[in-house]
Amino acid sequence: MSSAMYERMRANPKFQELVTRRGRFAWVLSIIVLTMFYGFVMVVAFSPATLGQPIAEGSKVTVGVAVELFMFIFFWVLTALYVRRANTEFDVLTQEVVKEAWKGQK
């Protein structure tokens, strides 16, 4: 039974839509995080002086501290964005796909 259900879900255009939309969203966010994180690691390794500059003339706070604090917050905001969209929009779509596959069962 399961296999027939999976077959019907796969054939449903909404399933393709779900996979494409959620997949694209997840990968875009992942690439943002990976690029920023490894970019940051590269700057630490190759150009530490960049991060050592003060954020303003005479300030003791460096660019590095500001960038990191930003990354902590920004990465968390990205996770919040993903959870929000996945738990509403994508889950509604998922439920529709499953429901329609059940209808095909009868």
Binding site: S2, S3, M5, Y6, M9, R10, F15, L18, V19, R22, A26, W27, L29, S30, V33, L34, F37, Y38, F40, V41, M42, V44, A45, F46, P48, A49, L51, G52, S59, K60, V61, T62, G64, V65, E68, L69, M71, F72, I73, F75, W76, L78, T79, A80, Y82, V83, A86, N87, D91, T94, V97, V98, A101
Partner: protein
């Protein structure tokens, strides 16, 4: 201690120092700290009460392994954060910021950055495909017997290395924080862990972790708040004063020696990011929630708590520079140029005492010890489930074992792991175990993670490819660590290490992926064809969660 390690390990060894912080080196016994002991006893009494309650709710295998899927996203988020924030996070990272300033902050970012990736690429598929252990996913369409055996071997390897580090850490910490004997800690942790896990299963293990995480967040926040009040809650003011007294001076907030070498930097980043995504006790937490929705929320809360706490630690380390570093009371012989009483890892504890007196010190010390206990319990449960669910129920009994028998085996396995942990804890007391946690992360990143991610994303993965990747990753991670300085020179005493880097991930992970690719592509057996076909159904289930193990029995 930290200071000695820094001079000893030098530039390239910095990454291993970081793991050394997790392992906690040999410490000196301090005066008996009754506040801490009493508060820890209260914690134990409370968690024992919970275990008693949990025992009445632990009847089926689903209850035992995954708390019946009845943990909410928020609770699970706290528990995951608790699993991730060990005693070393509190003590080692505070000490690192205290000594190295900004470098400690960079390191925390490396520890954090894996969480968003786990959410985007893994969380929902893990929940939709898995039931009790992560081998449920890797073995979904592959040869159950072989793949589960392989996953159990690498899981147990990770669990054992991690257990040794935690047990030795517990023994060293009890001398420092409670002023008790090393062996007292080993037996206390070993026995309490057996009680939590065998009687209360995942329900008790999760609640122990949640309570501890709550205490850790509360204690850290309180210390940070009291310490910052001395600087009028002004970060600029704090930095001004800290830079005027710290030996790094104006360089305090600049990248220092840490990650000066790009190969080590990337390797460490990969190891921490993907090692986290391959730790069996963390992966298991994804199966304790009811569905993918809650699994996603778990990561959202967990990463929020971790990010918050890292920033608290950053402030604790910086305020410690002034409050602890300038107070002769905390130095041996009252000389602030000398050694901190109890060693470098004691910054967080001294800070608690300075801002909150003996009560706060006792509380934080009890939390640090409770942390080890909670992490060890999670590890033991993950190890026991690899033995009972994967090896016993699926490989030996081929899925024909009764639930009662499976639970019995996992309880016996827990008790055995408890004794193994006690024996290893005592055996490794005087050993240099700085490499153990690094090794655990290395094996998790190179053996568990590649097979897990490929089984979810790559249709072409076959049993043969998975086995080569799993065993290949395991062997290469271990070999690279053994040939690196932290084992070859520091443990075996050879003059020079054949492998020049301290982190195996950058080298061992590609080997695992390459082996998976080569041996899957060249696999033209009938079975391989069926496995590739079975990916289609697996894919639909991974995406929709249809057919996933539901919140059973609740």
């Amino acid at each position: 201690m930290m200071r000695h390690l820094i001079t000893a390990t030098g530039l390239l060894g910095f990454a291993s120092l970081v793991f050394a912080a997790d392992a906690v080196g040999v410490t000196e016994k301090q005066a008996t700290n009754w506040h801490a002991i009493i508060m820890f006893c209260i914690f134990v009494a409370l968690t024992m009460g919970i275990t008693y309650w949990a025992a009445s709710r632990t009847k089926s295998t689903a209850d035992f392994y995954t708390a019946g899927g009845g943990i909410t996203g928020f609770q699970n988020g706290l528990a995951i954060a608790g699993d991730y924030m060990s005693a070393a996070t509190l003590l080692g990272l505070t000490a690192m910021v205290y000594l190295q300033g900004y470098d400690g902050y960079i390191y925390m970012m490396c520890f954090f950055a894996g969480w968003p990736i786990i959410l985007f690429l893994m969380a929902e598929r893990l929940r939709n495909l898995g039931k009790f252990t992560f081998s449920d996913i890797t073995a979904y369409r592959l040869d159950q017997g072989k793949v589960r055996t392989m996953a159990a071997v690498s899981s147990l390897t990770v669990v054992c290395f991690y257990l040794i580090a935690q047990m030795v850490g517990a023994g060293q910490l009890i001398k420092l924080l409670f002023g008790l004997e090393y062996k007292v800690a080993i037996f206390a942790v070993g026995i309490l862990m057996m009680v939590y896990v065998t009687f209360g299963g995942m329900v008790a293990t999760t609640w122990v972790q949640i309570i501890k995480a709550g205490m850790l967040l509360f204690g850290g926040t309180l210390v940070m708040f009291l310490a910052m009040s001395e600087f009028g809650f002004s970060f600029t003011n704090l930095l001004d004063k800290a830079m005027s007294v710290h030996s790094l001076g104006d360089k305090l907030m600049q990248p220092g020696s840490f990650l000066a070498d790009p190969v080590t930097a990337i390797s460490l980043g990969l190891g921490l990011m993907f090692g986290t995504a391959g730790l069996p006790h963390i992966l298991m937490r994804f199966f304790t929630v009811s569905d993918a929705k809650e699994a996603r929320k778990s990561v959202l809360y967990a990463s929020g708590f971790v990010a918050y706490f890292f920033n608290v630690i950053f402030l604790m380390g910086l305020t410690g520079i002034l409050i602890v570093g300038q107070n002769p009371e905390f130095f041996e012989g009252g000389d602030i140029a000398g050694k901190l009483i109890g060693g470098g890892n004691m910054v967080a504890m001294h800070l608690a005492k300075a801002v909150g007196g003996n009560m706060l010190l006792g509380f934080l010390a009890a939390v640090a010890f409770a942390t080890i206990l909670a992490v060890v319990s999670g590890l033991a449960l993950a190890g026991a489930s690899a033995i009972s669910h994967d090896i016993y129920a699926r490989v030996i009994k081929k899925g024909q074992a009764s639930e009662a028998a499976e639970i019995r085996v996992s309880k016996i396995a827990t008790v055995c792991l408890g004794f193994v942990a006690i024996v290893l804890g005592i055996a490794f007391e005087k050993q240099n175990i700085a490499f153990m946690v690094g090794l655990a992360f290395g094996v998790a990143a190179a053996a568990n993670f590649p097979v897990l991610i490929l089984s979810m994303y790559w249709k072409g993965l076959t049993t043969r490819g998975a086995l080569w990747a799993g065993y290949g990753g395991l062997v290469s991670a271990v070999v690279f660590v053994v040939l690196s300085k932290s084992v070859w020179v520091d443990v075996f005493g050879f003059a020079a290490a054949p492998f020049p880097y301290t982190q195996p991930a950058l080298f061992a992970m590609p080997i695992a992926f390459l082996l998976a690719f080569i041996f899957s592509k060249s696999d033209n057996s009938v079975r391989a064809g069926q496995e590739k076909e079975a990916f289609e159904d697996q894919y639909v289930r991974a995406q929709t969660g249809f057919g996933a193990a539901a919140a059973a029995n609740h």
